[in-house]
């Protein structure tokens, strides 16, 4: 008899706590969107509501898109993330295949090298990589944003794990059919390890879309800035004192990943979990 109300109370308790923690997680997002819809006059009112009394969204978003080169930042983000992911897969997949499936002297030492590289946090590399980019003359170029990231020890490691699980018979059969070794990598191994490749691509896209430290170091021209650095430049220039357009800009920068995340929640969580756990 007493079980029912207790179960019911338990559910209410659980949901109350979770709604509070959800509010904590979502509050900055809600506030950001709310301010991006309001006029300056309304922001400074003493009475408050999340939903604006007078819709000022069109003015704010238009100003965000025209006062700072926001579309350019977004395009740069796509170019940089796209190039990095493509090059990483291009370089990591054959390497992972060799380390997983081919036998040659020194293979284990090379894999140990990958593990050592996996241990190194990327922030440690910023100073020597900056010097390298300076010597090569690619500071303040797309190359400077992309080339330091063309290889990922995590990518090699993850793909190798997946490739190892693929039976050798598949490879032998392909060789008998006359498929080249690179053909085996791209036409047989990669499709079979697609979940790993997708998880890795998502991890990489999120990392580089969000990256701030490296772009701050390597890029000065506004026309090259990726989104995270772009919104910081927006924040620091004269438009940045207008909260409405600034928040509209922040919404635009955050939106692509959030929308992609909402559509493919599990893939995102898996990708980021794997990446951060490495």
């Amino acid at each position: 008899m007493s079980q029912r109300p207790r179960l019911w109370l338990g559910a209410v308790g659980r949901h109350s706590v979770l709604l509070v923690t959800s509010l904590f997680a979502l509050l900055p997002f809600l506030w950001m969107v709310s301010l991006s819809l309001k006029s300056p006059a309304e922001m400074f009112q003493s009475s408050y509501s999340l939903w604006p009394e007078h819709f000022h969204a069109i003015e704010n978003y238009t100003r965000a898109l025209t006062a700072a080169p926001l579309p350019r930042f977004m395009l740069n983000g796509v170019i940089v993330c796209g190039a990095i992911i493509a090059l990483q897969l291009l370089i990591c997949a054959p390497c992972a295949y060799a380390l997983a499936k081919l036998k040659f002297a020194g293979r284990d030492s090379l894999f140990a090298l990958v593990l050592v590289a996996l241990l190194i946090p990327h922030q440690v590399l910023t100073l020597p990589l900056f010097v390298l980019c300076y010597e090569v003359g690619i500071l303040d170029t797309y190359a400077g944003l992309i080339l330091p990231f063309i290889v990922s020890p995590f990518g090699i490691f993850l793909l190798r794990q997946f490739f190892k699980a693929i039976p050798d018979d598949v490879i032998h059969a392909a060789r008998l059919d006359g498929v080249s070794e690179l053909g085996i990598v791209w036409r047989i191994m990669m499709p079979m390890a697609l979940p790993a490749a997708i998880a890795f691509a998502i991890f990489s896209a999120v990392s580089h879309w969000n990256a701030l430290l490296w772009p701050l170091i390597v890029v000065q021209s506004e026309s090259l800035m990726p989104p995270a650095q772009g919104i910081v430049a927006f924040h620091n220039n004269e438009v940045g004192v207008e909260y409405g357009p600034l928040m509209a800009g922040a919404v635009i920068v955050v939106a692509p990943l959030v929308i992609a995340f909402l559509f493919a929640q599990h893939r995102f969580i898996d990708g980021l979990k794997m990446g951060r756990v490495k």
């Binding site: 659980r14 949901h15 706590v17 979770l18 923690t21 997680a25 900055p28 997002f29 506030w31 950001m32 301010l35 400074f44 408050y48 370089i91 390497c95 060799a98 380390l99 081919l102 002297a105 293979r107 090379l110 090298l113 990958v114 590289a117 190194i120 946090p121 922030q123 440690v124 590399l125 910023t126 100073l127 020597p128 990589l129 900056f130 010097v131 300076y134 063309i150 290889v151 020890p153 999120v206 879309w209 969000n210 701030l212 170091i217 989104p227 995270a228 919104i231 910081v232 924040h235 909260y243 928040m247 919404v251 920068v253 955050v254 990943l257 959030v258 929640q265 969580i269 980021l272 979990k273």
Partner: protein
């Protein structure tokens, strides 16, 4: 092993391995070498000074503040993130409705662009138009200039750190909870542990032990890496009160161009991160034996 297979192996591995040597291993070695010099970027001469940079560091108030603040930050962020992550994971696991919504809502901060979200936090904490101060005034409390008060700035940044990380911790705990065999709960019930709290104490928490250790280290690593919120919201101020390790590294290396000194700070950062990572690798090993 055929010579053909060897040759193919080297050829396929070469681009990746060479890139790793050029972009990871070489630079890491370079950091130790540069840390032993007085090099300033752009200067055409440099000399080896041995451990001088580390001696300067030990008496540099800026570095000491950064190290101290980073540790305080981590000591707030790690336990708070763990508790919040664990509690939300247990609650999400035990509810059947709205699970997807809760998971998405809690995880959103972990993947959203921190640079933009730091700006949103600035708006929340704004002295006059910020929601936080509005709420305080509504409750009859004193408003505060959160990011410009040396007593509040670090706890506030830590709260932002918890906000950013606890969804990630929750997701890792959810995976840990899923790995607990259901028959253990049945066995515990036979032994008389059938209230939810008993089950938590006798089964869930002990079996989550390895996950907890491992999440602690992940969150610890993330705390050592705090940079974006500091760079955007406080620039280490007021008066060093929110200076942290990576921010001081960034400033010395790239704003003041003290390349040698920046490299020495990098070495300290590397040692701290590697220590934590190696502890993590060892716990991972143990976890494999555990289950």
């Amino acid at each position: 092993m055929s010579t053909h297979e060897s040759r193919v192996g080297y050829a396929l591995a070469a681009p990746g391995i060479l890139a790793l040597l050029l972009l990871f291993i070489g630079p890491t070695i370079a950091i130790f070498v540069i840390a032993a010099t007085d090099w300033e970027l752009g200067a055409d001469r440099l000399s080896f000074v041995g451990l001088e940079n580390f001696r300067v560091m030990s008496v540099d108030p800026g570095f000491r503040a950064a190290l101290f603040n980073t540790i305080v930050y981590a000591l707030i962020v790690v336990p708070a993130t763990m508790i919040l992550g664990l509690v939300t994971a247990l609650l999400v696991e035990s509810t059947r409705t709205w699970q997807a919504f809760y998971r998405a809502a809690h995880f959103l901060p972990a993947m959203a662009t921190m640079a933009a979200m730091a700006i949103a936090w600035e708006a929340l904490l704004h002295p006059t138009i910020g929601l936080v101060n509005h709420a305080l005034i509504f409750l009859g409390l004193q408003p505060e200039n959160w990011l410009h008060n040396r007593h509040t700035v670090l706890p506030v940044l830590a709260a932002i750190g918890v906000w950013q990380n606890f969804g990630n911790a929750m997701v890792l705990f959810l995976a840990g909870l899923k790995a607990i065999p259901q028959d253990l709960y049945a066995a515990a019930a036979v032994d008389g542990a059938d209230s939810p709290l008993d089950r938590l104490r006798t089964v869930t928490l002990p079996l989550l032990g390895p996950t907890m250790m491992f999440v602690t280290i992940i969150v610890g690593l993330r705390s050592l890496e705090v940079f974006t919120s500091v760079q955007i919201l406080t620039q280490g101020g007021p008066d060093q009160a929110s200076n942290v390790l990576l921010y001081t590294l960034y400033r010395e290396s790239f704003e003041y161009l003290n390349t040698g000194y920046g490299a020495a700070i990098t070495v300290v950062f590397l040692v701290m991160v590697c220590t934590l990572t190696l502890i993590q690798a060892r716990t991972m090993d143990r976890r494999v034996h555990y289950t």
